[in-house]
């Protein structure tokens, strides 16, 4: 299984985390695309936003491969300070 976590306004749409079978996608990008195709509200929330990702607490490109046990974070544009 993969654990996917959502932050900021995406957490309000998706909840903080979802579990999904590792076999469901090969890359971070494919994983998110699958989720967006299943969930119109999530798809709408992603529209026009540059989302970034982290895999196991490391910022990662959407081409990064994912495997069983990985933790994938879905990060809308940061706004700290």
């Amino acid at each position: 299984m993969l654990r996917i976590t959502f932050y900021g306004r995406l957490a309000e749409v998706m909840g903080r985390e979802r579990m999904t079978p590792a076999a469901s996608a090969a890359t971070v990008g494919a994983l998110i695309e699958n989720l967006a195709n299943e969930d119109a509200e999530f798809k709408a929330a992603l529209a026009g936003t540059r989302v970034r990702f982290a895999v196991n607490n490391m910022i990662a490109p959407e081409t990064q491969k994912v495997k069983d046990g990985d933790e994938v974070a879905v990060l809308p544009p940061f706004s700290g300070g």
């Binding site: 607490n57 974070a73 300070g81």
Partner: protein, 160 residues
Amino acid sequence: MKSLSCRPSAAGEMIILSHEPIDPLTLGGDFARDVEDAGAIASFTGIVRKDGRKEVSALFLDHASGLAEQEIGKALTEAKTRWPLIKVLIAHRVGRVETGQPVVFVATAAAHRRAAFEACDYLVDFLKTDAPFWKKQIGRSGEEWIEPRGEDYADRNRWR
């Protein structure tokens, strides 16, 4: 102050992420107590603004625990590569922060003032756009997730 996360990530570095109010006076006092032969201490306090007609009553700050500490740690390392810093502190609130309360405190110590000023400025710019925090304004007309303004990205790009 009970902190969610408080780690001296390397000699002379401190990162604090706190669910409780942060007190720049206490933090600044502790920071200044042991700064070797520093000739310059710069600090920045960011405070939640009411922001005029928006009538903001609080911010809510989400953060990616673990990733945040790591990305801030990288920024501290970068700052110490660019400037000869003696000591550096970043304290950042998470959770609900009331209007008028500090949301961030950054302090830097160096032998000379340009290093202290520039590193402090750099780290505040970094926190605005490149650290995994997300803030929601809670105001008169409801709640609104905030994204950095164009000028925040422009400020950050000064350092590239």
